[in-house]
């Protein structure tokens, strides 16, 4: 069988048999503790500056950000953005409790359905699980309330993100996932899919020249809800 052949060839190369129990235990310990390596200094900042760094990095990667003071202002921010971009006030919404519970009825012109995305959808509104200031990256794990297709099929993706969910480095976002999620199949924390998204889709395959709008969204807009008093910009 090929599995045995491959493992056998590796062990011959390493000039040993299967690992002895004590060494296996050591490696299993490393997996269980999953030690961090060096974390770059750039995101080791006080909270307000960490959020500012996140916004700056999103904008550097051609995304846009609108900050609102409370969740109640999200429908207004979405309506404003769609109007600015000359887009029809219609979207597919992540069927997420935090999002479906927003006061959408205050903006009666907005039409939406809470479901997965279809190829005909032009705008999606997704729920941000966490975000990483280091590079302006969103962490979007799949689950019944956060379908993956919302990140891919619409030309315009809007992500609603609470400022308290912004961390400095990727490792801190992994820690949140480890702590907050239990997978129904594995009992571990990894869902079927975790997307780390940094800006809208792009390609440089034609003459190594960057063009936005490849197969994923052409626009990525983040509505940032300032729910974290410690992260507010200093007056």
């Amino acid at each position: 069988m090929s599995k045995e052949a491959i493992l056998g060839a590796i062990r011959r190369g390493l000039k040993r048999g299967p690992l002895p129990a004590d060494q296996r235990a050591m490696l299993e310990g490393r997996l269980a503790t999953h030690p961090r390596h060096l974390i770059p200094q750039r995101s080791r900042l006080p909270r307000p500056e960490q959020v500012t760094l996140f916004v700056k990095n999103v904008e550097k990667e051609f995304g846009t950000v609108a900050r609102v003071a409370s969740a109640a202002e999200v429908p207004g921010a979405v309506a404003d953005y769609l109007a600015q971009q000359n887009l029809a006030p219609r979207f597919v919404l992540a069927p997420n409790d935090e999002l479906t519970g927003l006061p959408w009825s205050e903006k009666p012109l907005l039409e939406f359905e809470a479901r997965r995305a279809q190829p005909t959808d032009t705008v999606s509104v997704q729920h941000g699980f966490a975000a990483i200031a280091e590079t302006g990256t969103l962490m979007l794990p799949s689950d019944p309330q956060r379908p993956t297709t919302l990140n891919l099929l619409a030309e315009t993706e809007i992500v609603v993100l609470r400022a308290s969910r912004i961390v400095g480095a990727y490792e801190e976002a992994w820690d949140r996932l480890r702590a907050e999620r239990t997978d129904p199949v594995t009992g571990g924390f990894m869902p079927r899919n975790v997307m780390l998204v940094t800006g809208p889709s792009r390609s440089a395959d034609i003459e190594q020249t960057l063009e936005l709008g490849a197969h994923g969204p052409r626009r990525l807009h983040i509505v940032l809800v300032d729910d974290d008093p410690a992260a507010l910009p200093e007056a």
Binding site: K3, G13, V197
Partner: protein, 474 residues
């Protein structure tokens, strides 16, 4: 396997140097990669330290590769996925075809994957009635042109905008023939529209993997276009193709390597989409594939473990080595004659297809060392090319003229008086021939060598002359 033309490297290179379109494309693209990488590295002061960390993570993994592969496979299965262990390209092709047949697949979409090129998967699928559709923009045009990628992260590195426009007009015959491509983005928009229909229709999606994570049983892809994500999200079945050295222990290990990958490759701080796939659709999920398969491929790599080429298995396929290589910059990727071009290809190709076929590749290097200096995994590429030259010599694969000239040089070099006299004569003759200029455009008896480049003329005396002068001056 892909047909190999590496034995004809010299003719391939000569043809590449005379190809005006290729030289134009190379000239345009080369500088951009170097500048973007340099800027990205300058923005991260810890980059050098991260290179050491990256090297150590991979070394640790390779020293325990059996353990981490078994752990990975167990965790894929815990998440409801299936791992197909394949020793050879044949086995891998058969495994993929069988999954496609079980799924009743007519078309499969594909994300960019070099291992798919290595096992020549597309030909095999086509022959067996399954239509593969490449969805990465560069891979898409390469497939339209029935070519192979000329670069591991920018498959259409060798093409100019005019080529794109001509090929799209030729192949997309349902669109008005007189349509205008004002901008590059018009080409991109046409590909987006064409491929969107393919994404929706596909029965199976096949991607590669930049990393496999033992801890979670995940495969990771890194893209900018989003094509890989559409490929692995929309069809009912997702197949991830991965070679055995892609595994790393934990998410934290992968994260450290990801900090190096995009910066070394495209000069981005992070790619647009870095996606971790673990098993199939969970209860209650509204989208995503129902089946998740990992086709785990050896194809010669386990033989590199314990050899002087083991360190090559640290490679994360960023392409920094080829982007900085003067030989790649002059010939482009196709001249190398197989799947992997540039310095990493010059080391890997002989290991995977044999030094008898690929022996010219490690010889096509000046050992300038730029590749090793930019490699995020600190792979000693020139040293390993030297090992291949030694093996080639030991196996008597080196051409007779090279062997006799080497023997002559060795004979002279072992006679110091004669060696000093000969080098002194050579320096004098070259300076005489140059008539005060800094370089010779042609050389008697070495026309082949000077045809492609100028020979710099020695500026001072011989090394021994200068050494003697320095000693006197002390």
């Amino acid at each position: 396997m892909v047909q190999i033309t590496s034995p004809a490297f010299k003719q391939n290179a000569a043809r590449a140097l005379a190809d005006a379109g290729l030289q134009k494309a190379l000239g345009k693209a080369k500088g951009a990669f170097l500048q973007r990488r340099a800027e990205a590295v300058a923005r991260l002061p810890e980059f050098e330290e991260l290179r050491n960390i990256g090297r150590d993570i991979k070394n640790h993994t390779l020293a325990n590769l059996d353990f981490y592969l078994e752990t990975f496979a167990a965790n894929v299965e815990r998440a409801g996925g299936k791992v197909h262990w394949c020793s050879t390209a044949d086995e891998a092709r058969a495994a993929v075809l069988e999954i496609c047949r079980q799924a009743g697949a007519k078309t499969v979409t594909k994300g960019k994957s070099m291992i798919s090129e290595e096992i020549a998967l597309n030909d095999h699928l086509e022959k067996n009635g399954v239509t593969p559709v490449e969805t990465d923009l560069g891979e898409y045009i390469i497939q339209l042109r029935k070519e192979h990628p000329s670069h591991i992260i920018a498959p259409a590195f060798h093409l100019n905008r005019e080529d794109w426009e001509a090929d799209f007009r030729r192949m997309h015959t349902d669109l008005p023939a007189d349509r205008v491509f004002n901008e590059r983005r018009d080409i991109l928009a046409e590909a987006r529209t064409k491929l969107r229909q393919r994404f929706i229709a596909a029965d199976v999606g096949i991607t590669g993997a930049n990393f496999l994570i033992a801890e979670t049983g995940s495969s990771v892809i890194v893209t900018n276009e989003g094509n890989g994500d559409l490929t692995q999200t929309l069809p009912r079945v997702h197949i991830a193709l991965a070679s055995i050295e892609k595994v790393v222990p934990t998410l934290e290990d992968a994260t450290s390597l990801l900090r190096l990958l995009a910066r070394s490759a495209t000069g981005q701080d992070f790619s647009v989409y870095t996606t971790f796939s673990t098993g199939g659709r969970r209860p209650g999920d509204l989208d995503g594939p129902e089946e998740y398969h990992v086709v785990l491929i050896d194809n010669g790599r386990s033989n590199m473990i314990g050899s002087e080429f083991q360190e090559m298995l640290r490679c994360i396929r960023c392409a920094a080595c080829m982007n900085h290589c003067p030989v790649y910059g002059a010939t482009g990727g196709h001249a190398y004659g197989w799947v992997y071009p540039g310095p990493m290809g010059s080391v890997l190709t002989p290991a995977l297809v044999g030094v008898d076929k690929a022996g010219l590749l490690p010889n096509a290097s000046t050992f300038c060392g730029k590749c090793e200096s930019v490699c995020p995994m600190k792979i000693p590429l020139p040293n390993m090319m030297r090992h291949w030259r030694e093996r080639e010599f030991e196996r008597h694969l080196t051409p007779a003229t090279v062997r006799s000239n080497l023997a002559l040089w060795a004979w002279v070099a072992q006679r110091p008086g004669l060696y000093r006299f000969a080098t002194k004569m050579a320096v004098g003759t070259l300076r005489l021939l140059a008539q005060g200029k800094g370089a010779l455009r042609s050389m008697p008896f070495a026309g082949g060598w000077t045809q492609g480049r100028d020979l710099p003329v020695p500026e001072g005396g011989t090394f021994m002359d200068r050494y003697a002068k320095m000693q006197r001056g002390r």
